[in-house]
Point group: C2
Chain length 431, copies 2
């Protein structure tokens, strides 16, 4: 290869995967361009706590260019990919083209509705900070509206929350919503009793946390039921509108429906003109390249990667991070004229999910942890992986405060529709 | 008065004034209804720090119903007043009517554009949390766009911030924007140098901080100029559009224009059918009642109240708080059959404004403080007045962090238009 200047590496996506590539190449003599639609890297594992008013957006997000400020070989651009031209080796952003020698696509996934995209308006999913503040607004407004509802049936509907999908996000949301209603809000209302809130967790498969060992799925279900969550297994949502959901025969009238079921990969496969799998992912080679494209790697939630034994690598942060580090090594080897590693193998870092106060589950190799030891370990691990010391201090402060006093610090209704509540007269004119 | 049940006090607005009324009546045998458009009480004096990425929204706001949770005689409603009927003693919310025996209007003010409301789209003001996150988005996006700008003139325009209005909000914004650009962002960009950011503070009057003693106005101007802010006195904005502003003959091309000039009171005068002053305020009686209306008080930024010497009471938090406490005492006296106090007198609590790191001004009676002693006192006073210990801990953590490391913790671009930057090609296809 001959370059006019240094080799140009373009990384699209500043999530766990993209960031790991950039950091892995931090000292190399390269021109790295790191592109993201947002200006911030997001610590997605704690996003459900923003949605349920426990943490603030800034507690779990950092400006990408601030994270890269000391890495002189990297520039950061805020932009959105519109197309990739593998022949000319150029990606198109809204603002214009960016040329690359090596390209890494780490563009993640968003929620999918199995072809029923019209449900998105009624059942928002949780992937971005704006999703989280929108869900927080919906949840908190439902309580405000219930307090002013003109009849008990409407209040009961408003106090029903349906969470669709029994994976980690669904479990974490269900536990956090139940605790919000039963603990943090208890004394704040005069007409309604927030403890009457009905939380349903709907899962189409036979058990919660399908990726976890069965005993932990059973524990999770019992722990959620102790919190008052109704768990419905083997039930799929067949209809969804502004009034609630339908689960086959059963109609559930609900004020809030949250979607944690389907995931659709970013359009990376479409950009590259390769065949996606059912979830829209690029089916990558063992060394994480797009099939047939020598200089393009695809990692994280937008890739379908397999271990040598055929097992699919799960869509979690440790996989994306290890893949990113692998791609950085592969690029360095290519540039040095060495043979790049031929197979990425995911080294299991365990599976974690939290259910609520003093309840979590951890599966790591043959280890099974549940209850409060798992909860404390979950908390410690998440604080440890937060990107900066400043955020660790603030998150720990918020957590200890909530732990001691059962309060939630970020119960703000902001954004579109924040001002004014439009349903139900508060009382007759002459009481 | 004969009541079927307890006397009904309706308070509209949960700012400093409305909250003080409710808290002053906390133990009385009354039915209090506290109504606000938002679900939160906002500590407005620190709002400019949210707009400039120093603090998070939840650090300076608390759910109103959480603040009232232990006050059993008070219910909280989220809603917006549409009309008041003083004859039937009823206020109309979107959801229906609410009857009162005594009514307190503490509905505040919003920014006014002197009849040029079309400027609002180009020059947002700062009154709510959504205003603050929208301004933060505009400021941070301007830097992102400048980094990708196709020519230096456009980059220079994007790096120009005009702040209109030299009162405390304008001064605080100008200082905070200058420090954001010159300190917090310095290392984060590769193409632009954020220190080149031009910050203009435009004031139509002859000096900054017109309410303060002249020597503090002079100090403030010098301190801002040391930070690199260009102060333009005696200059009014004559035109404003997406490209910038015009100050009479001088055209200033700017990427961000912020409005801290005009204030318009809420429509309380219109609801009551009384004549407002030029700023839309209700001209209240010496005991803070609406003229001619026995059972309606108007306080805070939506009232024009005067001390016995004729001096107008300023639109600041201590005035609203003292007025609220006065109204609570007046209502208690009326209900007990005692003569209510006939004249509210504002006891001066001083004027404070902060300029930047280690620079603030304080005027309290004959005392004049400036520089770092004023700055430390300003910080201590603001932390002291934050409503909860939790927020004090978090704000102090953020401030100490910023103080030591010059970083800003909440540099998030969120909300409408957050994803994607649409101006200027980043580079030619083959660099």
């Amino acid at each position: 290869m001959t370059y006019g200047t240094k080799p140009r590496i373009v990384i699209v996506g500043a999530g766990f995967g993209g960031l790991a590539v950039a950091q892995g190449l931090g000292r190399a003599a390269l021109d790295i361009t790191l592109i993201d639609r947002q200006n911030h890297h997001l610590f997605q594992p704690l996003l459900y706590q923003v949605a349920t008013a426990g943490l603030s957006p800034a507690d779990i997000a950092w400006p990408v260019r601030h994270l890269m400020r000391r890495q002189a070989n990297t520039r950061v651009l805020m932009g959105e990919v519109q197309a990739v031209d593998p022949l000319r080796k150029v990606i198109m952003l809204a603002g214009g083209p960016v040329a690359y020698d090596f390209l890494v696509l780490a563009t993640g996934a968003s929620h999918g509705y199995f072809g029923r995209e019209e449900w998105a308006a009624h059942a928002p999913g949780l992937k971005t900070l704006d999703d989280a503040t929108a869900i927080r607004r919906r949840l908190l407004l439902a309580f405000e509206r219930a307090e002013m509802a003109s009849n008990p049936a409407e209040a009961a509907r408003l106090l029903t929350v349906v969470i669709v999908g029994g994976g980690p996000t669904g479990v974490e949301l269900a536990g956090a919503v139940a605790e919000l209603a039963r603990r943090a809000l208890v004394r704040d209302f005069r007409v309604i009793d927030p403890r009457q809130t009905r939380v349903l967790l709907v899962e189409a498969g036979p058990r919660l946390l399908a990726n976890f060992p069965e005993e932990l799925s059973r524990y999770t279900q019992h722990a959620l039921e102790r919190l008052g969550v109704e768990v419905r297994l083997g039930r799929a949502v067949t209809h969804c509108d502004a009034g609630g959901v339908r689960l086959g025969e059963e109609a559930v009238r609900a004020g809030t429906v949250l979607w944690a079921a389907g995931v659709t990969a970013s359009p990376a496969a479409h950009w590259l003109g390769v065949a996606p799998d059912r979830a829209g992912r690029v089916q990558v080679t063992p060394d994480l390249r797009a099939p047939g494209l020598e200089d393009i790697w695809v990692i994280g939630d937008t890739a379908l990667a397999r271990n040598p034994d055929g097992a699919t690598q799960p869509g979690i942060a440790p996989v994306a991070k290890q893949q990113g580090a692998f791609v950085a090594r592969a690029i360095e080897a290519r540039l040095a004229g060495r043979a790049p590693p031929s197979q990425f193998v995911y080294r299991d870092r365990g599976l974690l999910a939290t259910i609520g106060r003093k309840a979590a589950v951890i599966a790591y190799k043959s280890l099974r942890l549940k209850g409060w030891p798992a909860w404390w370990l979950w908390g410690a691990a998440h604080v440890y992986f937060l990107v900066s010391l400043r955020n660790r201090l603030i998150v720990v402060t918020q957590w200890l405060w909530s732990y001691a006093l059962f309060e939630r610090g970020a119960r703000l209704i902001t954004g579109a529709g924040a001002s004014g509540v439009r349903s139900g007269p508060p009382e007759p004119p002459d009481g």
